[in-house]
Amino acid sequence: MLDLLVIGAGLAGLSAAVAAAKAGLNVRVIAKGQGVTHWHAGTLDVLGYLPLTDAPIQAPLAASQTLPPEHPYRLLGETRLRDALAMFSDWLAASKLAYPSSATPDQNLWLPSAVGAVRPTFLAPQAQLAGDVSRPEPMLIVGFHGLRDFYPQWIVENLTKQGYLARAAFLPLNMINELLERNNVQLAEQLEPPSARGRLAAALKKLCQPGERIGLPAILGVNEHLAVWQDLQTEVDAPIFEIPTLPPSVPGIRLYRALQQQLMAAGGRIEMNMEALAFKAEGQQIQWVETATSARPLKHYAKNFLLATGGVLGGGFNSDHTGRFWETIFDLPLTVPQDRNAWFRHQFLHPQGQPVFSGGVLVNDHFQPVEQNGTPVYNNLWAVGGVLAHADPIRERSLEGIAIATGISATQGMIAQTHAGV
């Protein structure tokens, strides 16, 4: 019998599963598909802007405790948040995917985006770090003619308007590949053979002036990423940084693979294409969750269940034209108004976000889903990440922070509470 069934293979589910597996639990992850990790920027955002005022945040850990009391970060408290992030980056480092923080302790990094805005994040992959706008070196942003997701002049124009030194340059795309499709992942794979790296390095060396750092679209290899990035830096003899592009996200895929590796190494399993369709509970105790794959039903029995299906984007919630909005597996109580008139604002980029996206599952500070009156809905169910109420992770730039910290913390709490597998 499983100690823990994790539903959802996004950052929240994987963080929980790795923590459980490393603690010796028998854990399985089931998921309909890969989570948002394949789409996001690959950075670990903790908190970038305050939800009500949109004020930029420099010290996210401290600021997290100024949020409203129901916010997941307040349920966690600063210590649990800090510890979880530290644990998570240790795992990544063990998979040779280092995620350093800002040189100034506890401060956000500010990194250029693919349109030249400056985005706040807390931990970034090593290969994005040299983009930090507080560094003094002028930036050389290099694009490839015909690459549809990266426009160096636009980036440079916006960086310049914000007072940063930057200039743009182009290389021909066919120096990387001759493919018809120009998918970022394919391009990244094309850069892995040493010959391709060498060609790119030589071209960059010609473009780059002494003292400059070079920004490139995030396509510097997938599995061989570290080697590609290090070789380029050595041969060009300049700091090189990646700028994340539109999905699919190469840095996100690297992150996913590192976590997957950590999970396997600790004895956990991920099973894809498994959509949870039904469950059975006796009293307050969930017995099993059922999936249908290859046309046969499969019951997953476990002692504990962890819901990490990721809100609207992950498919954890669904809704219809009558204004009904529900959690797809357990039909848990939600804070979202059952009225479409109350879901949106008239402005897409409204600083306070769309109300529908900050609704979700109500939990206690163990991250157990609760009824309105605070009693747990089930004794052996936990909910983490994007499904949680009272946060809009995309708007606040807290997507990865909430996922990782609630995933790890809920699991640790669950272990402590049930003594399972210890």
């Binding site: 930029p56 985006s113 349109v115 549809r148 426009y151 609207v312 008239h346």
Partner: protein, 593 residues
């Protein structure tokens, strides 16, 4: 002030106005058309997509039905590539029985609308999703039609005949002389919306084809035209659930037509009197009504993914009419202000349908000839617009061209198969102030992701071209040369092929010009287009489409941080319009609270 003189001034760049410009230019008049936004900004760009056979009106409004079938047959030859030969069914659902179907059949015969009764089984063979409980089906020559393309082509045909088409030029006032009883319109005071420049256009004859705004224009001449603005809501489904136009066989009502158009199927519509043609807000109940009614034709429709909703306002007119807008006639109306109001040099053409725009143009230009004392015969009936050699539109044509020419790597909008070359050519040849202009030109952002990916790409490409163009300019001080080059590199290019990936495989070199000033503000282009898409999405966001909207947030907030770009305060002439109801963003927010 650079005042202009012309023989005929046309106000309005919808189907009617461009039709008038085309007709008058073919007859040899010197013509200038002014449109306050882009072509098809008005009702023409917000209609249902149906080339009417007339079937819908045979019982209730036979005059309009006769006009429709007459024009239906002509437009197939003059605007071939804008029309997809879908055919149309009038189906009798269990709710629609009674004597209407027989009346319908008889009225089709009386109006000469070809109509064949086919068995319900046969209809279901063609359209398996149709309600299996339908009892009778009549087939008529309905078709689906692309009004964006058709209007562009009509405008292009007018240009080729010598007309001048000025988009983003708004009529502020009409210039009149004379007394209350004996007045003449001499032309119009116009503002270039992009530059703010104001000037006068003097004309022997001013023709108002301002659609639902015709009342406003008439007021500038000092007379009253009571347009009955009837708002209609349409809902686009993510799939082409039918390949035939499906009508309910009953008196025209709400939500009783489904039109397959390009990759989607559109259900509509409603008819509600509104106060202002720019108030296009859609309420959830209106969408709900469309889906509920749609279920009666195609059971289960309301569970399918919905892409987008929009509304248009009918320019209905009936002298002295006081009833519901649904009951006002759809026949065309020519207002001769000389005999009606004692105002010379001014005509209004209104009412009608998209289907009858050519006839409307012919009618008003005939009257203009009469008043100007010349006799020039109409030529539009037998003169096709450019590009009809492409044949009727068919669904797979873009994919076919992309594959034949191996253009996969050039795609910037995977949903609608828009290539970089198409985008560049369309921008180069048509004034572009917003990305929405390109949506109308080449269907950018119209597919399932509603601009999620292509907004960033389009803004980036346009900016890149302008920047590179300016660098070229600096390198070669001979601006004339650069300009000329851009005109001759691809002499075959024509608006007629604007939507064809194959004909836009290689882009011309781009020359910067005044019209491109908007393109050098990519941050604004991006913001405007995201907001424009949002406006049409909010009425239909649930289920899959809500998930899509959240992905768009992930892209534009989390990955790109585009809500914290410089120049956050710059606005375009359309920014306020994209914030609901044409009000300012601030007003819209406070009425939400």
């Amino acid at each position: 002030m650079k005042n202009l003189n012309t023989e005929i001034l046309v106000i309005g760049g919808g189907s009617t106005g461009t039709g008038v410009a085309w007709d008058a230019a073919l007859r040899g008049f010197q013509v200038t058309l002014v449109e306050k936004r882009d072509l098809t900004h008005g009702t023409t760009g917000r209609y249902h997509g149906l080339l009417h056979s007339g079937g819908r009106y045979v019982v209730k409004d036979p005059r309009s039905a006769v006009e429709c079938i007459h024009e239906n047959q002509i437009l197939r030859h003059t605007h071939t590539q804008c029309i997809e030969e879908t055919s149309g069914f009038f189906v009798v659902t269990p709710e629609d029985e009674g004597d209407f179907p027989d009346k319908f059949k008889a009225a089709c015969a009386a109006c000469r609308v070809p109509c064949t009764e086919i068995s319900a089984q046969e209809a279901l063979r063609h359209e398996p999703l149709l309600n299996p409980r339908i009892s009778r089906v009549f087939e008529v020559p309905d078709a689906s039609a692309d009004s964006f393309l058709a209007t562009h082509l009509t405008a292009q045909a007018a240009r080729q005949a010598g007309a001048q088409i000025l988009v983003y030029h708004e009529v502020l006032d009409l210039i009149t002389e004379g007394t209350e009883q004996d007045r003449r319109v001499l032309g119009a005071k116009v503002r270039d919306v992009a530059t703010g420049e104001e000037f006068n256009i003097y004309a022997n004859m001013t023709i108002s084809a301002a659609g639902a705004w015709a009342g406003q224009v008439a007021r500038m001449a000092g007379c009253t035209v009571n347009i009955i603005p009837g708002k209609g809501v349409m809902v686009a489904m993510n799939h082409r659930v039918v390949n035939t136009v499906i009508n309910r066989c009953k008196m025209p009502s709400d939500g009783d037509i489904i039109v397959p158009i390009h990759t989607v199927a559109v259900i509509g519509t409603t008819d509600e009197r509104v106060s202002d043609p720019e108030k296009l807000r859609i309420e959830p109940w209106e969408v709900q009504l469309m889906l509920d009614e749609g279920d009666k034709l195609l059971p289960g429709l309301s569970k399918a993914r919905v892409l987008r909703a929009w509304a248009g306002v009918r320019p209905l007119y009936q002298e002295g009419f006081k009833g519901e807008s649904r009951d006002a006639t759809r026949a065309l109306t020519l207002l001769d202000h000389q005999s009606r109001d004692g105002i010379a040099g001014f005509l209004t053409i209104t009412g009608g349908k998209w289907t009858t725009f050519r006839l409307m143009a012919e009618t008003v230009v005939d009257k203009a000839c009469e008043q100007l004392g010349t006799r020039k015969p109409c030529a539009t009936e037998t003169t096709p617009v450019p590009g009809i050699e492409q044949g009727h539109y068919w669904l797979g044509h873009r994919l076919h061209e992309v594959e034949e020419n191996r253009l996969q790597g050039e795609l910037i909008c995977e949903c609608e198969l828009v290539t970089r070359g198409m985008l560049e050519q369309a921008t180069q040849r048509n004034p572009t102030i917003t990305l929405d202009d390109l949506r109308r030109d080449i269907r950018l952002g119209m597919g399932p992701c509603q601009g999620g990916f292509c907004t960033m790409r389009a803004a980036g490409i346009l900016h890149e071209n302008v920047t590179l163009g300016m660098q070229n300019m600096k390198a070669s001080p001979d601006a004339e040369l650069v300009n000329r080059k851009s005109q001759i590199v691809n002499p075959e290019w024509d608006v007629a092929y604007m939507q064809s990936p194959a004909h836009n495989a290689t882009a011309d070199e781009v020359a910067p010009s005044a019209q491109h000033s908007a393109l050098s503000t990519p941050n604004l282009l991006l913001r405007d287009f995201l907001q424009e898409r949002w406006k049409g999405l909010t009425p239909v966001l649930w289920g899959q489409q809500l998930k899509q909207a959240r992905l768009d947030e992930l892209i534009y907030l989390s990955i790109l941080n585009s809500d914290h770009l410089p120049d956050a305060d710059t606005i375009s002439p359309l920014t306020d319009f994209y914030h609901f109801d044409g009000g300012t963003s601030r007003e819209a927010e406070s009425d939400h609270a």
